[in-house]
């Protein structure tokens, strides 16, 4: 009972290894899976669910799947027919962009990847210039490259744009153009001027109160009525206008939350320095607020990325729409699961990556604030 009491020198007690049931594989299993009969029951239920879902899934998607070939005749083994994706991949990525000009899309994509790396990888310096580049210079280059018509590039109509390329364009233009508008609206909503504030609130609440699809309907059927005779926007531009208006309201709310989180002392200090309103906002408040809301912005962007699929309903061929169209091809009827699974995989990789990134930033911001 009183083990070691006699020959025990205080302060010299050795660290003993814990009982075998507490640590290691056994301890882990006992604590996390089999701590009592209820937990054990749940474990078996969980294992059964895993068996029910993943065994057939892997069987279908990998083991029994057909990967090579160029027509549906190649799909004979009863599993997934990835041949369909393989054959149509070009279209899924570029839409109907002329094959000879696709290098321009690839170039833009590479430039985009580099810009994003510059923006997000902490080791690369000059984040301020990266932001400027991403918001101003990159869009110009991308526009010139993609639509052509100058520098000896052959013009490519936007009606030919489609697939993943169009999805990315919609989402990126949506966020880049909505960003400045959103900041203005957020400042407007926190302004001391009653009329400016009222207008901002009305604008923000209007777009946040209606579904994106009605906004897209509006920009596709009502916008042409608003314009003077003879002026006509193409379908893509109309969709983009709708998306930007819609998105700016959401960004405004995210930015507003950041502005609210800045301590009052910062505003007072800027006033004390005698800075004008725009200098105060631009030099002191916004840089701090925007840093705080990066996770929020990424989350909004994530939602927007998913929502770009809605343009299908007004007839644009984004990744999802072009896959749906391909599924209606009489030569490839009956491969809906493969088509949607592929679309899902692409969207999921983008969205999951973004949500993880935003979570990582959030953790970093939190630790930064504690110190």
């Amino acid at each position: 009972m009183s083990e070691g009491k006699t020959d025990y020198i205080p302060g010299q007690y050795p660290d003993l290894p814990p009982p075998i049931t507490e640590v290691g594989v056994v301890g882990w299993l006992r604590q996390n899976l089999f701590s009592n009969w209820w937990n054990t029951g749940l474990t078996f239920l969980g294992l059964y669910l895993v068996y029910l879902i993943f065994v057939p899934l892997i069987q279908w998607a990998i083991i029994d799947a057909d990967w090579v070939g160029d027509s549906r005749e190649a799909c004979t083994s009863g599993g997934a027919c990835w041949v369909f994706i393989r054959v149509r991949l070009d279209q899924f990525l570029y839409g109907f962009y002329p094959v000879g000009e696709q290098w321009r899309v690839n170039m833009t994509g590479l430039l985009l990847a580099a810009t994003i790396a510059w923006l997000t990888v902490p080791k690369i310096p000059g984040k301020r210039y990266a932001g400027l580049f991403a918001l101003v210079i990159f869009p110009v280059i991308a526009y010139l490259l993609l639509s052509g018509g100058s520098f000896g590039l052959e013009p490519v109509e936007t009606t030919l744009w489609g697939g993943l390329m169009l999805t990315l364009i919609l989402a990126l233009v949506g966020i880049v153009a909505a960003f400045p508008l959103g900041i203005l609206l957020a400042l407007g909503r926190r302004s001391k001027m009653p009329i400016v504030r009222a207008l901002s609130v009305a604008f923000i609440e209007l777009w946040r109160g209606v579904p994106l699809i009605t906004v897209l309907f509006m920009s596709s059927v009502m916008l042409p009525l608003f314009l003077p005779e003879g002026v006509n926007f193409d379908k893509l531009l109309r969709a983009l206008i709708g998306i930007v208006l819609f998105q700016s309201a959401y960004i405004a709310e995210v930015v507003r939350s950041g502005l609210q989180a800045i301590p009052k002392g910062q505003y007072e200090a800027a006033d004390a320095l005698g800075l004008s309103y725009w200098k105060k906002m631009g030099l002191i408040i916004l840089p701090q607020a925007l840093k705080l809301v990066i996770p929020g912005i990424v989350n909004t962007f994530n939602e927007l990325f998913k929502d770009t699929t809605l343009v299908m309903i007004i007839g644009l061929l984004d990744l999802l729409a072009i896959i749906k169209a391909a599924l209606e091809d009489p030569n490839w009827l009956g491969y809906s699961i493969e088509g949607y699974t592929f679309a899902g995989l692409v969207f999921w990789l983008f969205c999951f990556g973004m949500s993880r990134y935003s979570m990582a930033i959030e953790r970093k911001l939190h630790t930064g604030h504690k110190r």
Partner: protein, 395 residues
């Protein structure tokens, strides 16, 4: 810090230097620009409408629609007016939203609690569910269920059966329809009595606990009453309810309640998608109650069930309810994806078909947006009221 006060503007600042006057001038300019923009748009619109020969105003709502719809909760055929079409669409939107809200809440709470389970596998599976369905576009999920999974269901003759009452096949889901006979009113009355009695029992139990300290199993007694009394009335009046079972006639089922595949797929996708968000809300709500609260309750001798009911849930609900409401709102707005699979909701019927028939884009989009905006604003007004009422009192 306090140097700012010394920078007050002198009493007689010139017009351009007085910030207040500058602010007013700026606002007047803003109003002028906004008005000019609206005027310009208005002019263009009038001109364009005239040129295209499209009439204006809301008179079209009284015109005969001339088209039928796939599904309607109220009597409707092509002889009814566009106003009626609007109502049919609105009701269908509300129906799919209500179904979606019920199932999303159910799945969401189950998965949210599973996510917090101490069992590793259950918690991982819940996390997997959340990460998969939250990160896929809703439209993709709707299309997947409707175009990829529903066609895999059997033909009506080989329907999946559940006790010869519920049938599921390519053409939809078939449920038995209740048919009430005379005397069923008594059953409803008994239910009413049971509910009223439960309220009184709850009050009495509370009063008794306040005076004597004895607790009373209110929940189980009320449940017993609410189940037992209607059954008793049901038996005494001679079972005045029959079910009309769906029956296979020819190539399809007749009778019972038919859930069209469009409704089935849309409600399923909305529930599954929103459940992933609700699960996260439930998880973060429960986690927002610090562990110290549980420890304090345990240290006072409260049992785990009491701790959950008296300490954790009341605090977690303050965090959960506002976010939950905003998810319900999102679900309702997301139900507008219905046109993608042809479910006749407000957007499909009104902003789609009716707009194509009449061309009155401004009015129709205006009404449609107005409906959603009304729903949104009334719910956020409710939420503001709720948050004010429930906010924890702080210094």
């Amino acid at each position: 810090m306090s140097d700012a006060s010394s920078e007050k503007a002198p009493a007689a600042a010139s017009f351009w230097r007085d910030p207040e006057k500058r602010a007013w001038l700026f606002q007047v300019l803003v109003v002028a620009v906004v008005l000019a923009l609206f005027g310009y748009i208005f002019q263009n619109t009038l001109h364009n409408l005239e040129k295209r020969g499209i009439s204006t105003g809301f008179a079209f709502l009284n015109n005969e629609a001339g088209f039928g719809v796939l599904m309607s909760l109220i009597p409707y055929d092509e002889t009814y007016t566009f106003g009626r079409t609007f109502l049919v669409g609105l009701l269908n939107t509300l129906l799919v939203s209500a179904i979606g809200i019920v199932f999303a809440t159910l799945f969401g709470f189950i998965i949210g609690v599973a996510r917090l389970s101490s069992n590793w596998i259950i918690s991982r599976l819940a996390a997997l569910y959340i990460e998969i369905f939250r990160n896929l576009p809703l439209l993709l999920q709707i299309l997947f269920w409707y175009f990829a999974i529903l066609p895999l269901l059997p033909h009506p003759r080989q329907s999946i059966e559940l006790g010869e009452a519920v049938f599921l096949n390519k053409r939809g889901m078939y449920l038995p329809a209740p048919i009430t006979e005379s005397g069923f009113g008594w059953v409803l009355a008994a239910l009413g009595v049971a509910i009223v009695a439960s309220v009184f029992i709850a009050r009495w139990a509370r009063h008794r606990q306040d005076t004597t300290g004895q607790t009373f199993p209110v929940f189980w007694t009320s449940l017993g009453l609410i189940v037992f009394l209607p059954w008793l009335a049901f038996g005494i009046t001679g079972f005045p309810l029959s079910w009309e079972y769906p029956e296979l006639r020819g190539f399809n089922f007749r009778g019972g309640i038919t859930v069209i595949p469009e409704l089935f797929a849309l409600a399923l996708a909305l529930s599954i998608y929103t459940a992933a968000y609700i699960a996260e809300i439930v998880r973060s709500g429960i986690q927002s109650v610090s562990h110290g609260q549980t420890e304090a309750a345990y240290a006072l001798g409260l049992k785990p069930g009491q701790t959950l009911r008296l300490v954790i849930i009341p605090q977690a609900m303050r965090v959960i309810i506002p976010q939950l409401t905003s998810q319900y709102l999102n679900l309702t707005k997301n139900s507008s994806l219905a046109p993608a699979i042809g479910y006749p909701d407000l957007v499909a019927l009104f902003a789609g078909t009716t707009l194509n028939q009449t061309g009155q884009a401004v009015e129709i989009i205006g009404i449609t947006m107005g409906v959603y905006l009304t729903i949104s604003l009334s719910i956020s007004a409710f939420m503001n009221w709720y948050n004010k009422r429930m906010a924890l009192v702080e210094r």
